[in-house]
């Protein structure tokens, strides 16, 4: 294997070829869908909102309704207020939400729509509406879906949060993880018996058990009353190491209301989960529950069983910065040294966070920010990656280069069950690891006999 320049950046081109990230309002949609009684309206042309629905439907396998103000050519000149008002009338009447999230598209932002003024005017005209309207600027030329998710979560908190008496319910702020992982984080906190406000909680709204009906607004989600009391919490745990400060909901609570922020990685991987468990144990002054100790033990046992197989893995990890950071940790602690670490987001702190983790590795991985799949594929192939770890966008790694992909993250549209990919906590980490190891094994045994024959008997070195 040739030696690459340490931490090289590949992407020096203009064109983005095969996108690794989605657009900013899409992340906002997911965050809003985690609030109780919420409906979402996208201010822009029709297409954007239909595409966002489609992306979410394919990932979550749930109806994900997103209204649009359906701007057309005329309004791009005259302004979109009339359409926005009409959209508000209709969506409020049909969906009767208690909260309406409005996200702007690139078009609306380019038009320079003054959202605050228009919403104020609308609320003045309809004084007894009984709905909270929260608008977030999410032009995709400024950020990816990851930034849209953080910006929206922050805006929701900023909208509701009020100074209040201190209480002992902790704040938990999550990034874009699967509903299954949200449920696991809640279960772990349940084992500690700690009270919490978790936001945005889309574990039930975007992953509903069968019930015979389509709910216009699915039940579940973080309650606005709880959000308003977040400033009285003793502490905030935020799984958002990579989150830019300007968008950080936890930092907002700390700066505005003095709620101490503990910023942690997503609890995937034994080290990362340990940090979460230690924080919880410290906060509630309780020892680690027996159940979790057992689960940790099973994970360690599994790590031992699989370590030699995992050492053969040369992963290319890609996706949202926060997820990529956590997955890099799991891979490294299991001896699968990453050869590519990439994210489509240009704004996160990923690179700086990852550098110290990889500085000791025998081979320096490619670190790519603002990645597209052309750059990821190129890096993966030239670094001899043997496995991809990330969302469905990596399918060409397999199709064109025979590199299998362990699917995790968002979006998953070419496999079933994106909403229940389970990777958090000790139990989830073990589930992830099994998927990862078995992907390697399947690849290995699929070609093992042929390869050995070529190598050993025919002396054709591959």
């Amino acid at each position: 294997m040739t030696n690459k320049p340490a931490n090289s950046t590949l992407r020096v081109k203009e064109v983005n070829e095969n996108q690794c990230h989605m657009c900013m309002p899409l992340g906002g949609v997911i965050a809003f869908k985690g609030i109780e009684g919420a409906m979402v309206l996208v201010h822009g042309s029709q297409g954007c909102s239909t595409y966002m629905r489609l992306a979410n439907v394919e990932h979550f396998h749930e109806p994900v309704d997103i209204a649009s103000s359906s701007l057309n050519e005329k309004q791009t000149i005259l302004g979109g207020e009339k359409n926005l008002n009409k959209a508000l009338d209709n969506v409020l009447r049909v969906y009767q939400p208690t909260m309406l999230g409005i996200l702007t598209t690139c078009l609306a932002e380019t038009m320079g729509e003054d959202m605050d003024r228009m919403i104020r005017a609308y609320l003045q005209e309809h004084p007894n509406l009984g709905v909270e309207i929260i608008s977030v600027a999410t032009p995709s030329y400024r950020g990816t879906h990851s930034e849209g998710f953080w910006a929206t979560t922050r805006a929701i908190i900023a909208h509701y949060a009020r100074v209040c008496e201190s209480h002992n319910r902790i704040n938990v702020i999550i990034p874009n993880i699967s509903p299954a992982d949200i449920r696991e984080i809640k279960r772990i906190m349940g084992l500690f018996g700690v009270e919490y406000t978790l936001i945005p909680d889309f574990s039930m709204t975007l992953d509903r058990p069968y019930g015979g009906r389509y709910q216009k607004i699915p039940t579940g989600g973080t309650s606005p009353a709880d959000v308003s009391r977040m400033p009285g919490a003793p502490v905030t745990i935020q799984f958002g190491l990579t989150c830019p400060d300007a968008l950080s909901p936890g930092l907002y609570l700390e700066q505005q209301f003095g709620v101490r922020l503990i910023n942690l990685p997503i609890p995937i991987g034994v080290d990362n989960v340990d940090q979460f468990i230690a924080a919880l144990s410290h906060i509630c002054g309780k020892p680690v529950p027996e159940q979790l100790t057992l689960e940790r033990g099973w994970l360690l046992d599994g790590m031992a069983d699989a370590h030699k197989y995992n050492a053969e893995g040369r992963p290319a990890i890609y996706g949202e910065p926060e997820m990529v950071y956590a997955l890099t940790g799991v891979c490294i602690e299991n001896g699968a040294e990453p050869v590519v670490i990439a994210s489509g987001s240009p704004h996160s702190k990923l690179k700086d966070l990852v550098r110290p983790m990889v500085s000791d590795l025998a081979e320096q991985p490619f670190l790519i920010e603002e990645a597209d799949f052309a750059s990821i594929e190129h890096a993966a192939v030239s670094a001899g990656a043997t496995i991809g770890v990330g969302h469905s966008g990596g399918k060409f790694l397999t199709e064109r280069h025979g590199i299998p992909v362990t699917r995790v993250g968002y979006p998953i549209h070419d496999r079933i069950g994106g909403q229940r990919i389970f990777s958090a906590g000790y139990a989830g980490t073990l589930a992830f690891l099994d998927r990862f190891t078995n992907t390697l094994l399947e690849q290995k045994y699929g070609s093992y006999r042929e390869k050995k024959k070529d190598e050993m008997a025919l002396n054709r070195v591959m």
Partner: protein
């Protein structure tokens, strides 16, 4: 769950302005309002002009498709169709100019020009399609001029597709933009002579699941050659030979009638409407094509092919019909062409069609649809999820045919679903497609899972 939308005469929409978009066959003679733009605030199933253009042109396999706009518009349409290629895979890449804030402020033309240069020097494609999106339309980038310059610089076709999404929510406008781009591509350069042949062009065929290949096999068997399909498994060079055909057969009228009319006007090529969905339709189409050629040998071979295939599939389909007779079905698809074809196929399977809707139907088409349905059936334009749910439940639908967004809705209600969208992987055309279709309807309508689902919510009462 509040559920106040009743199904009174004529079908009252949940949003009263939508009343004119829903009619009940045999009850009101009022005209359906289908040319309207989507209503602001409604959760429309429609997409955008750009989407329409992109799905029509995307199957041109060796061209580069460059989306000029912010990232999302490209991400959402990356490899969006199940169109297959016999050679180049270039069309499955998604190229975006990935506009950033500075481009939006100062104009995106320089970046577009740079991106065109970049993709051409990397891939040397025979042609580049440049799609405009909403933001580009808004900031007024002159993509026509940029394309013209680049075209001269590189000596290949660089074709602007004027598909700013905000022009309309209606994909038909996008089909038209694509059609104009196609006409531009195939127009012979001054002095160039295209040799006339006895081959035909196959318009509105996208080779989903290999459908073009199957129909081509039939045509070859009866002694007719396909020049090129618009646009399934086509190449730039093959499309440029299109003016040399003696006949155009037109399948998907929504996107291709305009092209057919223009090919007739400019090159004197007559056209024939065909439909290869369903065995009867396939037989009928083959007969009419054979009749056009008027060659007794072709007619004889067509008849023997039809007889052979019908004998082969009739007993198989009869088996499915036995299971499906009397089941109730709803159809919600993009265009009326597809809806009409589906109604016929469902009826052939002994099923009753109780709801039919499209996103882009025209008045005459809705008249045709109403004519095919029995009294009391609902016809709807641009339906929203709340309406679809109401129809599915109130009319006790057993199985629905539609796109991805309708699929999850149907499943939530415990209703079978048949994929009939542009992402599908199965071939549903021709005689083999008729069998595949029957089987798909059967496995979903009569799946054992519904019994368990229904039982869990107490059977019939909803």
């Amino acid at each position: 769950m509040e559920h106040d939308c009743s199904l009174a005469s004529g079908g009252t929409g949940c949003i009263s302005e939508r009343q004119n978009s829903i009619i009940t066959t045999g009850k009101n003679k009022s005209r359906i309002h289908c040319a309207d733009d989507s209503l602001a605030g409604a959760v429309s199933q429609r997409a955008c002009v750009f989407c329409g253009a992109r799905v029509v042109l995307n199957p041109i396999t060796d061209a580069i498709h460059l989306v000029h706009g912010p990232i999302g518009c490209a991400t959402y349409t990356w490899d969006i169709r199940g169109s297959l290629s016999s050679d180049s895979e270039m069309y499955r890449h998604s190229f975006s100019t990935d506009l950033k804030e500075k481009d939006v402020v100062f104009g995106g033309e320089p970046k577009l020009a740079a991106c065109i240069d970049e993709v051409i020097s990397k891939y040397h494609p025979p042609a580049v399609f440049v799609y405009s999106t909403c933001v580009v339309g808004m900031i007024g980038d002159d993509i026509i001029a940029v394309c013209k310059d680049a075209s001269e610089r590189h000596g290949i076709d660089i074709i602007p597709v004027e598909s700013s999404g905000f022009l309309s929510g209606n994909k038909i406008v996008g089909y038209r933009a694509a059609a104009e781009a196609l006409m531009k591509l195939i127009r012979p350069k001054p002095g160039e002579v295209i040799e006339k042949t006895r081959k035909l062009n196959f318009l509105g065929e996208y080779n989903l699941g290999g459908e073009k290949w199957l129909i081509e096999r039939y045509l070859n068997e009866i002694g007719i050659e396909v020049n090129v399909a618009f646009t399934g498994d086509s190449t730039v060079a093959a499309l440029k030979r299109a003016p040399g055909s003696c006949l155009n057969i037109v399948q998907c009228t929504g996107s291709m009638h305009w092209v057919a009319t223009n090919l007739e006007k400019e090159y004197g090529i007559p056209y024939l409407d065909v439909n290869f969905f369903g065995a009867e339709n396939t037989a009928d189409s083959l007969r009419r094509i054979a009749a056009f050629y008027g060659d007794p040998e072709i007619i004889r071979r067509a008849e023997s092919l039809i007889e052979r295939e019908m004998n082969r599939i009739t007993p198989i389909i009869a088996r499915y019909r036995k299971k499906l007779t009397g089941k109730r079905t709803a159809i919600y698809v993009g265009g009326a062409f597809k809806a009409v074809a589906l109604i016929r196929q469902m009826k052939d399977l002994g099923m009753e069609v109780v709801v039919t809707g499209t996103q882009t139907g025209k008045q005459e088409e809705y008249d045709t649809i109403s004519g095919l349905l029995s009294e009391g059936a609902i016809v709807v334009d641009d339906a929203n999820p709340a309406e679809i749910e109401r129809f599915l439940l109130d009319l006790k639908v057993d199985v629905m045919a539609g796109g991805v967004k309708e699929r999850v809705l149907a499943y939530k209600l415990g209703i079978g679903f048949v994929d009939h969208n542009h992402e599908r992987k199965e071939c549903l055309a021709g005689f083999d497609g008729a069998v595949t279709f029957a089987r798909e309807v059967y496995i979903t309508t009569c799946s054992p899972v519904w019994k368990h689902l229904k039982a869990s919510i107490g059977g019939e009462e909803l």
